[in-house]
Each structure stands twice: as structure tokens, then as C-alpha cells.
């Protein structure tokens, strides 16, 4: 039952810039079971996106290994669909074409693609927009298309890099609920990067708080509040206070580091 979907063992990531060395990730060990919704939480510079990019295969660890049920990660692949903060929709393709692209790459036949795209557009409420280009859509609608595009891949794993960060609060809540619905329905394993404490508590089964440079796991906690969660409830706020303290400690370190760097310059 509790089979592991993503196994991160002893992962380190070092970036060499011209004048110094930044240790972005240090000794990360995480075992993410199938169907779990995990949020990576922390201030900017804590390596949460670096870790996500490593799982996606865009930037491999300097040492250590990441394995999924498809084997050790050596590069990007459609078994780990990614939703980017900047949407990353292809602007020259219509909504329909964007969603179909992954299926065409897979070599699925035209009739099947049409059916599958139709179904996904319907699921995400995009049917009326299918012939539009991304530039004609709102941020929320664009992110729906990006989610549909990844769902089309039918990958067991969904990676999300602050996907709702640029959206207004109402659209954000709307998409969070939609995502929870999709997750419950399709039983995906989701790794979701955010710096919003509330978003993490609202969505996740498990929250991994990361430290500012070097990025390590500061706290790995399970959230077992029943869904849909009420952000105004006392239990939600107890958790929010606790996480707030953890994240702010790291934010303070981030701030101090920036001040120090400025002083050196």
C-alpha cells in the first residue's frame, strides 16, 4: 500500500559561480509514497525549486540519487509532468494544441488525441476556450491549460513549481480546490513548491520545510486535517503559527545573508 513513488537519497547540489560556491542542497533524504501530496516550503534561496528541478531531471544532483518507479532520474521525461510558475504554454499553439502536444509526441493516433483532449478540456472547464491562444487568456485560465497539458501525459507524478504564485487570491483558491479535486480523482503523487504557508497547509498531506543555504530538511511534518480545510479554523491556525515560526527563522537568515553580501559589495 505504502509503496514509494519518489526516493531521494543523499542528494547534494552545488552551484559554482565565478567567485564562489553555493551549496544549494545538502544531504536531502525523502521518501515520497504513491499518491501523496507533498509541499516543499521555505523562503527563496532554500533550494526547494532546485530540488524540484532535480526530480524533474532539468538539473541533476551533484551527488546522491533520485529514483522514481520509472528508475533513476537522468533527465526530463513525461512520467514527471511539470507545471511551471510562468505557465510555459506555447504561445503559438491554441489551448487545444497545447494540451494535445504531449500526446502527439507520444505518437498517439489523431482520433484518440481528439477524444482525450476533449475530455481534459471539459474537466478543467476550458472547452469554450479551446481555439484561443494563450495571450487571450487570464492567468488562472492559462494555468488550467498548463495543468491539462500535464494531465494529458497521464504521468503518475506531477511536479508544480509555485504554480499559483502569480494569481490573485480568489483565483488561487479556486485553482487549489480544482487541483485537490483532480488529485483525489486521479490519485497522482504531487510535489508542490510554495513559499505560502497557508497554501501548504491547505493542500498538503505532508509539508517539508527547508532551510536557507545550504538547503536541508528542517522539518518534515504530516498534516492530517480533514479536507476541505478551513483556513480560519483554530487547528489550521495552530499549524500556521508553528510553520510561520520555522519559515521566518529561515527568512531571517536569508535576509541577513543578503545584507552581508551587500556590505561586501
Amino acid at each position: 500500500m505504502n509503496t514509494s513513488q519518489i526516493k531521494i537519497s543523499g542528494v547534494n547540489k552545488v552551484f559554482n559561480t565565478s567567485d564562489r560556491q553555493v551549496i544549494a542542497l545538502k544531504e536531502i533524504n525523502l521518501d515520497i509514497p504513491k499518491g501523496q501530496f507533498v509541499c516543499l516550503l521555505g523562503p527563496s534561496g532554500c533550494g526547494k525549486s532546485t530540488l524540484l528541478n532535480a526530480i524533474a531531471g532539468f538539473s541533476l544532483p551533484s551527488s546522491g540519487a533520485i529514483a522514481t518507479d520509472g528508475g533513476v532520474v537522468t533527465g526530463p521525461g513525461p512520467d514527471r509532468g511539470m507545471v511551471f510558475q510562468e505557465y510555459a504554454l506555447f504561445p503559438w499553439m491554441t489551448v487545444e494544441q497545447n494540451v494535445a502536444f504531449g500526446l502527439q509526441i507520444k505518437g498517439m493516433n489523431v482520433a484518440e488525441i481528439r477524444l482525450r483532449v476533449e475530455e481534459l478540456l471539459n474537466k478543467l472547464g476550458l472547452t469554450d476556450f479551446k481555439t484561443r491562444f494563450p495571450k487571450d487568456l487570464s492567468g488562472g485560465m492559462r494555468q488550467r491549460v498548463a495543468i491539462a497539458r500535464v494531465l494529458a501525459l497521464d504521468s503518475p507524478i506531477m511536479l508544480m513549481d509555485e504554480p499559483f504564485g502569480a494569481l490573485d487570491a480568489l483565483t488561487r483558491r479556486n485553482l487549489q480546490d480544482e487541483l485537490l479535486r483532480i488529485w483525489a480523482d486521479l490519485k497522482k503523487t504531487i510535489v508542490f513548491v510554495t513559499h505560502s504557508i497557508e497554501e501548504a497547509i491547505y493542500l498538503a498531506d505532508r509539508i517539508v520545510v527547508m532551510t536557507y543555504r545550504p538547503g536541508t530538511v528542517k522539518r518534515d511534518m504530516t498534516v492530517d486535517l480533514p479536507r476541505l480545510r478551513d483556513p480560519s479554523s483554530p487547528t489550521f491556525n495552530v499549524l500556521k503559527r508553528e510553520l510561520g515560526q520555522l519559515v521566518m527563522e529561515e527568512q531571517q537568515r536569508h535576509h541577513n545573508d543578503e545584507m552581508r553580501m551587500a556590505a561586501v559589495d
Binding site: P76, P78, E86, F90, F101, I105, F133
Partner: protein
Amino acid sequence: MNNINWREVAAGMIVSAILIAVWQGAASLGWVNPQILPSPLAVVQKWIEYLLPTDAYSAAAGSRWTWAFSGELIHDTISSMYRVLAGFVVGAGLALPLGLSMGSNKRVYAWMNPLVQVVRPIPPIAYIPLSILWFGLGNPPAVFLIAIGAFFPVLMNTIAGVRHVDGIYLRAARNLGANQRTMFLRVMLPAAVPYILSGVRIGIGTAFIVVIVSEMIAVNNGLGFRILEAREYFWSDKIIAGMISIGLLGLAIDIGMNKLNNYLLRWHRGLEN
């Protein structure tokens, strides 16, 4: 875009009308020698003469349709357009694949770039002697010169276009499992289209300049040839009529390119408004 601002159009007309009226006045009052500057009316008259068929209609020579298009201006326009298109197709047809490979492959870029940088600043007109030496007279040297004129703008813009493809699209495509070929054809190429099209536009503009010049030296028809020929007979009215035709054709090409741009880039953010 679709709403024509008539007030603005009218304002633009007024300036032209005043200019033409002054010109006509000067001509009617005999202030200028009509051989040097003919009156606008004479130019219009000549233009119509140039446009219409020279011979009377005869059923033996062909249908009414071919007769209606047998005027000298129509023939010249078709000849010039043919050269522009042929030269452009050759020039852009070579520039596009070279630009795509130079833009996407560092090694090809390193091989070709020094040569391109040295040859690029040579204006197409400087190739005239060589083009005649190599191709003699007629269409081939003209097409050669026009191809050179169109080649470099398309090349440089294609290289820039491919190099400026936003990395996020490449990452998204790799995430979807795209192979090299799909990446190139469905992501890099369309992402570079805005750049390529602006190169095409500059290329067509250069081709249009070069066609007029090349017709003055290498061939005996076309709009460029016609105005040079008119000079030999002191037909200044025909020179100006020919120049106006060149202007109108240039405008038509530009409007056509604009329409093509708007269609091909209907997805592009830059055109939002």
C-alpha cells in the same frame, strides 16, 4: 486597426492636395519648363496612357481580358514583381536553413560567422559588375542581385530568432518528452517566427530597391528600366508616372506583408491592442 480614422485620412489628403495644387499652379503659369517638371495633370495623363493597352482591341490577338492587361505598365509591373519574387525566394530560401543551423548549432555558427560578417557589409549594388560578368544580361543577374539583397536580412534575423528562444519553452517541451526533431520543428522554429518575419520584411524591402537598380543596368523591361528609358527621350512625365507606380507597388507590397504578419503572428503578444 479596422476602424479607419477618416479625420486623419482627410488631414493627410489636405497636405497632398495643397502640394499638387501648388505644383499644378506653377506649371500652368509657366514658371517651370515642362520638360524639367511636367504638370501633375500631364503626369496623370501619361500614367493612364502607360496603364492602358497600346493597340486597339482585336479578337485575333486574344481575349478581351488579355487585351485589358496588355498595357506597358502592367507588363513592367509583372516583370519587376517576378524578379523580386524569384530573387527573394532564392535569397530567403538559402538564408533560412543556414540561419536555422547557425542559430541552433554553435559549431556551424563558428564556421560560418566570420565569412558572413565580412561579406554582409558589401551592398548588393557592389555586386553589379560581377553579376554581369557571371550571368551576362537579362533576368539571371537581376535575380542574383535581388537574392543577395534579401539573403542577409533574413539570415541575421533567423539566427537572432533561434538564439532568443525563451528557455522556458525548451524546458516545457523536454518535459513533455520532445525529441530533437520535434523540438526544432514545433518549438524553436515557431518561437523564432516573429524575428524571421521582421527579417523577411526588411529583405523584401531591400529586394525592391535592388530590382529597380538592376533593371536600370541589366534588362530591358520592368519599372526601373522604363524610367531610365524615359529619360533618354526626355519624357519627364513618364519618369514621374513610373516613379509613382514604383511607390504604389512598394506600398502594396508593404500592406501585403503587414497582412501576412498579422495572420502568422495572431498568437503573438506584441500585437495585442
